[in-house]
Symmetry: C2
Subunit: 213 residues, 2 copies
């Protein structure tokens, strides 16, 4: 398809598509004349992911480019390829390594992972931005004086593991590994607000069931 | 206790406590001389919640004041008191009512709630900011061309309901209704980053189990 059709089908203006092409967020089309190029479904898919990262996830262009470079790197194994892409996404603040509550938080997270049997997470440890974000969140609970109960965290972690199982099952419905990695990255960005909205609605629903309206 | 002890035990500087008192975020202590007041555990608890809202949730002072006014309103039933406090929290953008995908998203959300049997959520509908945020998130999926499968949403909603059950169980461990509402509001703000970190770690763990490291 030509640029105009790509614009129409993707809902992205031709000016914005040209900008994404210049910035290397979308791969070039097949040049057919000096001024025209031909685009295909892979460009549509890529535009969809770029919009998810930039318009919904509010990633700066440079960060989106880094995420996409990992998505596109088929020399990596699937876990590493996916991990590298997810690790380049914003992950919340790291814990303050100097603070005493960070030590307590790390101990709690290690007990949590031990109890869950999450061997890979234990192995990867602080290399993972998600691990560091978890330690930081737990350290905040402790610093503010809220209870941090490993059993309660364990229940939450088990439920989030079920979410991840559902997401990876959905991802596997895509035919190629490239599309699977793209879908996984998009799902992290697009499903976070959705899951948090569902959690708040569930809290309203459960409260009304327990205490009436 | 005196202001200095309140500062020490809460980890909030005396200047900041005075600012929160002036802004009406913390209730005044019992005045014992012209220049001194006596504070108690309720002040400590309130400072903990104010820090959660302002320092972690990044709420503006005016928004925090509105949330706290609902937390403090014991003329409301518990669901409404909790709901009013949660509804005053930032909830993500509302859906664009003019956009065609919003109609499709609303239909999907109504089918979801019908299937779940969430009668209160159906009844409250768009009055709830969480409902509007969910419609907006689903509309984004549709607009970007990602699949929006009601069965998949249903599985996620069931898991988020289990999270809410755990959170309300934890909340009920607090002795008074005021403390319960405070704990529920704090948990929304403090557990969102924690749950999202757990989800990403679970995705890493599950990916490594399926595809190796």
């Amino acid at each position: 398809m030509r640029l105009s059709e790509l614009s129409e089908r993707s809902g992205v203006s031709t000016a914005t598509i040209k900008y994404y092409l210049r910035e290397g967020l979308v791969h070039p089309g097949l040049r057919i004349t000096a001024t025209q190029a031909e685009y295909d479904e892979s460009h549509l898919r890529r535009l969809r992911l770029v919009r998810a990262l930039i318009q919904v996830g509010r990633l700066p262009v440079a960060t989106a480019r880094e995420v996409l470079s990992h998505v596109d790197d088929d020399s990596l194994g699937r876990t590493i390829r996916l991990g590298a892409a997810l690790w380049a996404l914003p992950n919340g603040p790291d814990a303050d390594e100097e603070a005493p509550e960070t030590v307590a938080a790390r101990t709690a997270v290690e007990r949590l992972l031990e109890g869950l049997g999450w061997a890979t997470s234990q192995e990867i440890g602080t290399l993972s931005p998600a691990y560091r974000a978890l330690v930081s969140s737990v350290a905040t609970l402790i610093r503010l004086g809220y209870p941090c109960d490993v059993d309660h965290l364990t229940e939450h972690a088990r439920l989030m593991h079920q979410v991840a199982v559902q997401d990876l099952d959905m991802m596997e419905a895509y035919p190629t590994e490239a599309e699977q990695v793209e879908a996984a990255v998009a799902s992290v960005v697009l499903y976070e607000p959705l899951l948090m909205a569902l959690r708040r609605m569930a809290q309203e629903e459960e409260s009304a069931r327990r205490y009436g309206l």
